[in-house]
């Protein structure tokens, strides 16, 4: 099926390493979201793109987190100098249109990041 895909599914990093997480949204979806889900918690918003424009990055926890979507399709979330508190599942979601909130967000399976 043509759902949202994320890679890698699992990533183990040593503290201080840089990691890059990839999201392939559903083809043609305008909006793309990144969320962080800690164990036993609900997803927490990180950042939002409409096409290639990053419209909201208010949820990024520090300047070690950086996201891009240069051609308005695939997105990469990069975490520099990883810390143990970065361990979580990183979820990507896409939706058909931008703007109003009535658009269903389709989630990928997530990337589970473990920082040792």
């Amino acid at each position: 099926g043509a759902g949202v895909s994320q890679s890698p599914r699992y990533k183990v990093a040593k503290r201080g390493q840089d990691v890059a997480l990839r999201c392939d949204p559903i083809s043609g979806h305008v909006s793309l979201f990144w969320y962080q889900q800690a164990l036993g918690q609900g997803p927490e918003f990180l950042t939002y793109f409409q096409n290639e424009a990053q419209l909201d990055k208010s949820g990024l926890p520090s300047d070690r987190f950086f996201a891009e979507r240069p051609e308005g399709s695939v997105s990469t979330l990069k975490i520099q100098r990883t810390q143990q508190e970065d361990s979580a599942v990183y979820l990507c979601a896409s939706s058909k249109t931008g703007g109003p909130s009535y658009n269903e967000q389709f989630f990928g399976p997530g990337t589970r990041l473990t920082v040792l």
Binding site: D56, E104, F107
Partner: protein, 112 residues
């Protein structure tokens, strides 16, 4: 400040029972309230959603009740089945905001 509070944290019912999960929100700018179902190792999947212009919405065995004045909404699962065992999240978002704010989740177990 947690903007969306969800309860209970966990819930166990017998097959055929009607589990009810509740959420309360603070931000009156929220105008879209979805419920998601998440199985282990999977991303959340939209079950049903409601806007504040209606007080109830039903899709199959799932019903959302919405109380705008109390800023509360709830999910009812009719005739629950063991396959409904999962974690359920409520969420809320505002017009043009894009992002969703999630509750902390309810782990539902439906016993055969």
């Amino acid at each position: 400040q947690q903007q969306v509070k969800q309860s209970p944290q966990s819930l166990i019912v017998q097959k055929g029972g009607i589990p009810i999960i509740n959420c309360a929100y603070e931000n009156t700018a929220f105008d879209y309230f979805p419920w998601y179902q998440q199985f282990p190792g999977k991303g959340p999947a939209l079950l049903i959603a409601i806007r504040p212009d209606v007080s109830e919405k039903k899709e199959g065995r799932f019903t959302i009740s919405f109380n705008k004045s109390a800023k509360q909404f709830s999910l009812h699962i009719m005739d629950s089945q063991p396959g409904d065992s999962a974690t359920y999240f409520c969420a809320a978002s505002g017009a043009n905001a894009g992002k969703s704010t999630f509750g902390d989740g309810t782990t539902l177990t439906v016993k055969p």
